[in-house]
Amino acid sequence: MASVELRRITKRFKAVTALNGVSFDVKEGEFFVLLGPTGAGKTTTLRVIAGLERPDQGEVLFDGEPVNHLSPSERDVAFVFEQYSLYPSMSVYDNLAFPLRSPLRRMPEPEIRRRVQETAEKLRISHLLQRTTAHLSGGEMQRVSLGRALVRDPRIFLMDEPLSNLDAKLREALRVELKHLQKTEGSTTLFVTHDQIEALTMGDRIGVLSRGHIIQIGTPEDIYDRPATTFVAQLVGTPRINLVEAHREDDTLYISDSPVRLPLPPGRDVPPTLLVGVRPEDVRIHAEGEFLAEIALTEPLGVETILHLRAGKQTLLSIVPGMTDLRVKDQVRFSILRERLHYFRPDGTRITG
């Protein structure tokens, strides 16, 4: 397994700059998630690392050695594509064996068979080896694509949104398995996704990418508890963080268009207008709550219920555990947990204490 480093990678496609000075590193054995919306440049980053695209500027290093000049086959990376990763006319066995049969490797057939069977067992697809890929379910197909990467024992795994085309339930199951597999094998993995749950649950560290720029790099806790910008704050967390405008007067923060008032946070240089972020789980409903609101919508999810609270002209989301008897148009009182508030300047950057 190897470590990977990107130094100021820039890539342009005609008029569009897909990557703009992107730099980050993936430590050996780490599960690094690149998170960003569609079009952020995540797939391009992976392709540059794999050697399928040449960067216009910048270097890619494996274990400290520059690999810009190496062809994809020489880099010894495994790539799991978002779709179209399996050859339709071949059996599962042949699909798994395909990487091992490349002339570069010259592996004898008995060795190939051993590796394929070992990998199939790890992914629990041994019973599918003789089937053609056309007769597999979505989850089984994705396991086989993972198997193709796994069977090679490469220096690093590159995964391009491998779970995004699966049903919600399958995604949940494969997420846990993939994480467990990575931890027990110790494989250096760079995983790309737009799904923030995948990022939070699977990553050792997360890099947030938007329009070709890295916005923040940190552990899941860093990204969730201390988002560097409003973009990051809104990207992670379901339901979405409540982000509202506020203005400062004397020692109080007034949330625009609402009755909500908060004390000025100590030790922070707060500008006259700012943005305040509060996560739904920090908006607490209780009888002695400070502020009054009307329920605009309820979304019962079973384990918890999302309530849309209308205070003044603002709508704030709140979560209560389990099911609730509250109905639309009911009046409730709520408080906001001060310690967990996020403060941002009007340009979106975090105001730190």
């Binding site: 086959s73 495994a78 090679r152």
Partner: protein, 346 residues
């Protein structure tokens, strides 16, 4: 209630079930009317071909009869003999030199006429003619096969490689190049026959197999490149990229992955190119005379010698049809998918 299976006799493997949108009586009458109309149009289109087939088995008198004869006694051999041999029409006195058994029916002639050695001479004699040698038809057929075959093969091969390059690589000026290639199809071929004629004359390519193959290949290349680019665009890049990352060179990836998936494209392009090269008339007429002449200009030229042997021409045209029919039939499995630019989707 709603399903109709369409199973072709010649095309196996694809059955389509038509979901009936409206299920009332009016809708079903509508479907029936449209079906009848489709069959009628098909019949009308096929009539000339059927007529041609019938004519190939008529004796001369029937072939030129006015009003046209639909029902007749077929003569299996006459027109074929006329097609493949050159003959001399014997005058009455010359005919009289043969004993009667030689000139009445060819079966009798074969058995009991010692002077006439071959069965086709018998057939000719029955029609009052003497065989003087083979006709040029077979030679022209051979030329057609060579020229059309080679040019199709080359157009498909080069088009495949070029189409692959256009699809996968970043070529400077790609869009312009593609437009240039397409633009050659925009002018009617006849417009350039004279310049090319002069060029070929100069280069000594006039009336050579090589010259014709070169010309047809180039003309087919524009269609071939565009078709292949489209077909290869439909093959996900990820297939080859996965192979590249796994340690295969581009050529190996091309051979193992692109080729098998491009079979429908290859089949469809082969048929299109073959049809063009096989049927091409204008250039064949202008740029060939004796050695490299193909069938399309030759068959009409059979008309101009005295009595027009329509039955022979019909037979010749029938033979002309066969190779393309065979190729299309052999490739039918691929064509069904290929003509609609079938995508490989998981």
């Amino acid at each position: 209630m709603g399903g109709v299976k369409a199973t072709g006799i010649f095309f196996r493997g694809t059955t389509t079930s038509i979901r009936v949108d409206k299920t009332g009586i009016r809708a079903r009458i509508g479907v029936a009317v449209r079906a009848v109309l489709a069959v009628a149009i098909a019949v009308i289109v096929l009539i000339p071909v059927v007529w041609m087939g019938l004519t190939a088995f008529k004796k001369h008198a029937d072939a030129v009869a006015v009003p046209p004869k639909v029902f007749f006694t077929p003569r299996l051999l006459d027109s074929w003999v006329f097609l493949f041999t050159d003959r001399l029409v014997l005058s009455k006195p010359m005919l009289a030199q043969y004993p009667p058994e030689c000139t009445q029916s060819w079966q009798v002639c074969l058995k009991s006429c010692p002077e006439v050695s071959r069965w086709y001479e018998c057939v000719a004699l029955e029609n009052g003619q003497l065989v003087t040698g083979p006709s040029k038809y077979l030679e022209r057929l051979r030329n057609s096969l060579i020229i059309a075959g080679c040019s199709t093969f080359l157009a498909v091969l080069l088009g495949l490689l070029a189409g692959y390059a256009f699809s996968r690589f970043e070529i400077p000026g790609k869009d312009d190049l593609l437009f240039f290639i397409l633009s050659t199809r925009m002018l009617p071929a006849v417009v350039v026959t004279i310049p090319i004629f002069l060029m070929y004359r100069r280069l000594g390519l006039h009336d050579t197999h090589f010259g014709m193959i070169l010309l047809y290949t180039v003309f087919n290349l524009s269609l071939s490149v565009w078709l292949f680019r489209g077909f290869i665009d439909e093959i996900p890049r990820e297939y080859e990229e996965a192979a590249l990352v796994d340690g295969y060179t581009r050529l190996e990836a091309f051979r193992k992955i692109v080729l098998p998936n491009a079979m429908t494209g290859i089949a469809a392009t082969t048929v299109f190119c073959l049809i063009f090269a096989w049927n091409e008339y204008a250039f064949a007429l202008m740029l060939t005379s004796e050695k490299a002449r193909t069938l399309p200009p030759f068959i009409p030229s059979m008309i101009g010698r005295g009595v027009v042997e329509w039955e022979a021409i019909a037979a010749g045209s029938l033979v002309f049809l066969i190779p393309v029919v065979i190729v299309t039939f052999a490739l039918r499995q691929y064509l069904l998918r290929g003509v609609t630019f079938g995508a490989i989707r998981q």
